[in-house]
Symmetry: C2
Subunit: 345 residues, 2 copies
DNA sequence: CACATGTTATGCAACGTTGCAATTGTGAAT
DNA sequence: ATTCACAATTGCAACGTTGCATAACATGTG
């Protein structure tokens, strides 16, 4: 039928010889260019031709070669997740990855994950991606108010989305948990339980969320006429130290009767300490934590919590990023996730 | 000086024009081929030439274009992690990824992660990678005795490494936690605490580890002359159900006085149920769990545990895989991780 | 001087893709 | 018949890299 290399023996040791545009061209008797154009929906082609190409492509199971496309167009069809090393939110990484993976299922995109070992090296990671055009877009988490990674990508006009807002003037895509609402909800709930002295336990003051929560906490406690207290400087605290803090707190005369905790890891440690100190949650004091994993509800079935759905966040971040890559403008790509209260009793 | 396109204005909108072999060729006055050859350590080149090229490459910050290399050689410089959706081991995904990331730091490899949503779709994932040569090697976890993914990759002679052994005749690279030792250690420890009726709580009977642990458990209990019992069929059990099981167990007349649990998630739920049922661990009964995350030691500081270092496993898996990709043969790429006991009191 | 022998460097083609300029075919208008 | 407009298709070059076959040069040998 056709001219050369009909089926086997094209050099590569693989079982079935790779299907390329050339294969389809030979099968259909069309030229490479036509096949390529047709597959990308060229409107100048005859309908008959387009059908023929589409059919052949499907039958042969053609999938564009990533290297070819990338070399020619510069498009990598890769999105990169910069994975923060923090383990405050238990199961955060897994859920985020699953969420992203779910959202790119069926698309041409692949996910590459770049674990971050030290926060202050994160600029290097971004620099590398920017310089080597190693992805079409980036997802970052644990965003700070003046996050240098954000700054770099804005400057380079590179598509990205952040989990968390920033304070930059130039708008950029983000998806964020509404921590102000979280704080307000939690305070109101504690107020309704007749708490008078409420403490906020919060770490990682490098994130924007930190500031948002603190501000909202103060506003809400003021409104409710409740004494507010913040346990700060615990971002580096180990679980053991955190537990000790809980133990000390349990012994304090003027201890809080309501606690709001924004980290699961800290919640576990703190509760451990409080219980060891003889305090019974739900009686001596109330605690509300921000829930992201399935573990804490199992562990503390009676504790109130407010949920952030990290799997959904991963999906949303991805959708925003893909639209950004397509060229949508930043202003239209900013969404918030509403906290979901889970009150017990 | 040189002929064409000296510095700027090469079309791409980027700030600094991309450094390619061509750039180095122009700077050094050598040909493309020579530069390429030199950078790959061609021994036929004069030392002077090699130095000149190396110096220029370093000064310009040359990094080979991935698409170019991939197109020409078929090498993707990518390793793929197929991420099982199981959340038995808390923090497993994050540690595994960090471990792999740490091991490829400084190499040309990137990590792509493919989340698995349904186990029975895992063959499709592998098929895709195999057909499209989308990675140079694959890491799989939660390996089964006759794992079809392993079978496929063996058949295709494709580089991979499994976290977990198999029963296949053809050898393949693996790194595995020594669960037989784990079971034996745990039983001995319980025996030394005068336990008489020991129960093994274990889920996911699709993994090889399941069988290894069960066998070793029976052997060890027989040797110690202890009554053995296995709580089976809990692989699909939700934390709530698991907790209920713990509660029921606490009320049982002939309840075990020693429990071995191979999953953190199940440990948490089970302990919750046991405690709710009024049992005090360390007094009424002893429990030893397999520890992978930092959470459980915080939560249960008094419980004995045996640790598997997932971060280290990720690193080892990667090293094995890379050596496999380099062509080392499978037999030499099989290693075991020794369980690390953490006895309290 | 012609020729073989190394040593060192290079030209060319190819991997799979796409964008553009150019070509062919078709029918209608001059 | 020639030209024109339009529709449909195609050839060519290029993206960055590497392997092979060849070239250029110096040196030694008959």
């Amino acid at each position: 039928m056709s001219s050369k290399t009909t089926s086997s023996g094209n050099g590569r040791g693989s079982a079935n010889p790779r299907v390329t545009l050339r294969t389809i061209a030979e099968v259909t008797g069309l030229s490479l260019s036509t096949v390529s154009l047709s597959l990308r929906g060229g409107t100048t082609l005859k309908q008959e031709t387009r059908d023929k190409v589409a059919e052949a492509a499907k039958k042969l199971g053609y999938i564009p070669d990533r290297a070819g496309v990338r070399l020619r167009t510069g498009k990598t069809n890769v999105i990169a997740l910069v994975l923060d090393g923090a383990e405050d939110s238990i199961d955060f990484a897994r859920q985020m990855i699953q969420g992203i993976g779910n959202a790119i299922k069926g698309t041409r995109y692949h996910l590459t994950v770049i674990p971050e070992f030290e926060r202050n090296l994160s600029a290097d990671t971004i620099r590398y991606i920017l310089d080597n055009r190693t992805a079409d877009g980036v997802v970052i988490t644990h965003t700070g108010p003046r996050d240098k990674r954000v700054q770099m990508m804005i400057d380079a006009d590179f598509p990205f989305v952040s989990h968390g807002r920033t304070e930059f003037y130039t708008p950029h895509p983000y998806h964020d948990f509404h921590s102000e609402v979280f704080a307000a909800m939690a305070v109101e709930r504690l107020a309704s339980k007749d708490c008078k002295r409420v403490m906020l336990v919060i770490g990682d003051d490098s994130t924007t969320n930190y500031h948002n929560i603190v501000t909202a906490f103060h506003k809400a406690t003021a409104r409710a006429g409740i004494e507010a207290r913040i346990l700060e400087g615990t971002q580096g605290a180990s679980p053991a130290e955190m537990r000790k803090i809980g133990l000390e707190l349990a012994a304090e005369a003027n201890r809080p009767d309501g606690i709001i905790c924004d980290s699961e890891m800290r919640t576990i440690a703190l509760v451990g300490g409080l219980q060891e100190g003889g305090r019974v949650l739900g009686r001596d004091l109330h605690l509300i934590y921000k829930q992201t994993s399935g573990i804490l509800p199992t562990l503390f079935p009676d504790l109130d919590s407010i949920r952030e759905d990290v799997f959904a966040a991963g999906g949303e971040l991805t959708r925003l990023l893909l639209r950004r890559i397509e060229g949508d403008d930043a202003e239209s790509l900013q969404t918030m996730a509403e906290p979901q209260p889970h009150w017990r009793s």
